[in-house]
Symmetry: C2
Subunit: 368 residues, 2 copies
């Protein structure tokens, strides 16, 4: 595995040389982790032609670095806990006689960039832009294996919840319980705060759980994701409480189900990024539903819960093989409620069976 | 309360005029909340001489804005959910013929700053620096009231935990339970991930809970904080498991207790920021304990869990009245464990009884 990190760093070195930079300063946590295995801890990676130097806080408990820092060929530069590791790395760049250093201008604030420029004496700075994010788009099978486990964890937690009594419990309690269950099943943590929306709150994308209690006849929307070894998945399901769903609930659920399936089935290597969104959106719009603002149908997911590529109506570019993405349309009717159904899938060619579904909990309208 | 926000915005306007800016672009979430009451949601505030314009995502569930957005005299500019509200606000600044706009260079990335500069046609940008953070240092009694409630919630959760059986439970479970209890008692959320460290993990400042189980004879360090209406507190306690603490445990606990008390008692309006740290550090060092890197003894706390002023050995400046700070020394002996004791207090003059202790859970060495 540690070679995998070395290979990634080599690819970044090639990108830098090609753009005339002899070093890169990596500050974005997910990018540092991708290139070193070091879990987020405010570390900064200085990558020169010959070296990989990781500036990191000197007070990390062993199991915060030790466990994750698999890459032995990365030299460590301990920095006082309340100092900025980017500054230590910038000084090192100057000592190492770096000439042109590419920095992540989408991550560094203007103030930190100014300080880096001052400390990196004799070094000219340029923008690395999202070069590492682009390297991260296509996952290797190690990464996909971690995503599979993250998905299993989320499915297990959700499955257990469905077997418990829901009526009378609050959105907040259900959300907390799902987070606890994911951790019990081995997640690093919840990939994002679990969203549980019941009744009029159902169907929203990022509803913040309230003290509203689940009632007979409610729609119940759960949006959750686990993080395992840094890799996150996201999934959403909508259920109905009580034995007899109303007709409008069955109709709305079937509609969103069809739209989500159309989005999933549109995934494939070489497919335009906007195609899955279009496939799903047409079905919703044909039924007279269009969200106030065009939410993208989904997005890439991995070390960050939202990363490239974005699957929005206006997104150019094509999908690649082995890219994990979310597909999650939803309809929310203000004052009434709604349905959201989301999966995390890996783009695969038809020869390999097409898109690989990671989050396998049933998408049928369960009456709980 | 909504006037309080208007007063804060007026103070910021005065600061801007004095520095020759006719508008400010506020992107930092805690600062937007301080000036508008709007809970974090990616909103951006454009403050001109005449107006306050809040650019915010158009898909916020009502109770995410409605509840918190107390300030009626703030005009809202809805922005598509996946767009950057800072860009919408920048365009508005151009439309409103703003000439000199102060932006938060410590919050904007280089990339966003560049995009803001492009969209804010005819507007010259300058650095607002930490002007709003400075306004936030001294709290009003509304803010302190919220901090008191946050502290009560943390104390309640901790008190309940102490009444339960701890031996055999994992750090992760105890941390999850504390987060759940804080939410049960009305917290918005945990102010930061609860840290529970037992045995060799005890006494660390930011230990990430593991599956290690609490054992007879362990030190148990708990670091937790609640957030209430946006305001956070932080507290740490160290207990011993089992009826018979070892001599070294009693000695170490007494030492850290004395250091923490010395730090608390050094607090006061007009006191140098480094004085409390010095008072505590001298006691630890006299006993032969000095942390690898000089952690500050504490820091300001409020809408952010770490804000100005910092109470470190090298920090200049003096403390003001009505400034909430943390005071939390700790000693960790690698391979053995340690003790950390932290409170959140409000700086008050002696005439008012001196520092106001918010986190009142006993600091004695309880044997659980």
């Amino acid at each position: 595995m540690s070679d995998a990190y070395a290979v990634r760093r080599e690819r970044l070195r090639e990108h830098c040389s090609a753009s005339g930079a002899d070093a890169a300063l990596i500050t974005r946590a997910a990018n540092v982790r991708y290139l070193t295995g070091c879990a987020p801890c405010g570390a900064t990676l200085l990558l020169t032609r010959e070296r990989a130097l990781l500036a990191l806080p000197d007070d990390l408990p062993q199991d915060d670095t030790g466990e994750h820092l698999l890459s032995e060929d990365v030299a460590q530069l301990p920095v006082p806990a309340d100092a900025d590791t980017a500054m230590a790395a910038a000084e090192a760049a100057s000592r190492l006689r770096v000439q042109h250093m590419a920095v992540e201008e989408h991550d560094l604030t203007v103030s930190r960039h100014r300080a880096v420029a001052q400390l990196a004496e004799g070094v000219s700075l340029r923008d690395l832009a999202q070069a590492v994010e682009r390297l991260r788009v296509v996952k290797d099978e190690h990464e996909i294996a971690d995503l599979r486990i993250a998905a299993e964890i989320a499915d297990q937690a959700l499955g257990e919840l469905l077997e418990s009594i829901l009526v009378g419990r609050t959105e907040r309690h259900l959300a907390m319980e799902l987070e606890r269950r994911m951790i019990d099943h081995g997640a690093d943590r919840a990939a994002f705060p679990v969203s549980v929306g019941t009744g009029t709150h159902s169907g929203q994308e990022a509803h913040q759980p309230t003290d509203r209690r689940v009632e007979e006849g409610d729609f119940l929307t759960v949006v959750l994701g686990a993080q395992y070894r840094g890799y996150a998945v996201s999934t959403a399901r909508t259920f109905v409480i009580g034995a007899a769903p109303a007709q409008w609930q069955m109709d709305l659920h079937r509609l969103v189900f069809r739209a989500q399936r159309a989005g999933r089935e549109a995934l494939g290597p070489g497919v335009p990024q906007h195609a899955p969104d279009q496939a799903a959106r047409e079905i919703l719009q044909a039924a007279g539903h269009s969200e106030s603002s065009p939410h993208p149908l989904g997005h890439g997911i991995g070390l960050e819960i939202r990363e490239a590529p974005r699957l929005g109506p206006a997104d150019m570019g094509k999908l690649d093989n082995r890219v994990p993405v979310t597909v999650g349309p939803g309809v929310h009717i203000p004052g009434k409620g709604g349905v959201r159904i989301e999966d995390t899938l890996v783009v695969r060619p038809l020869e390999e069976g097409g898109p690989e579904l990671l989050t396998i909990t049933t998408k049928e309208l369960l009456a709980l």
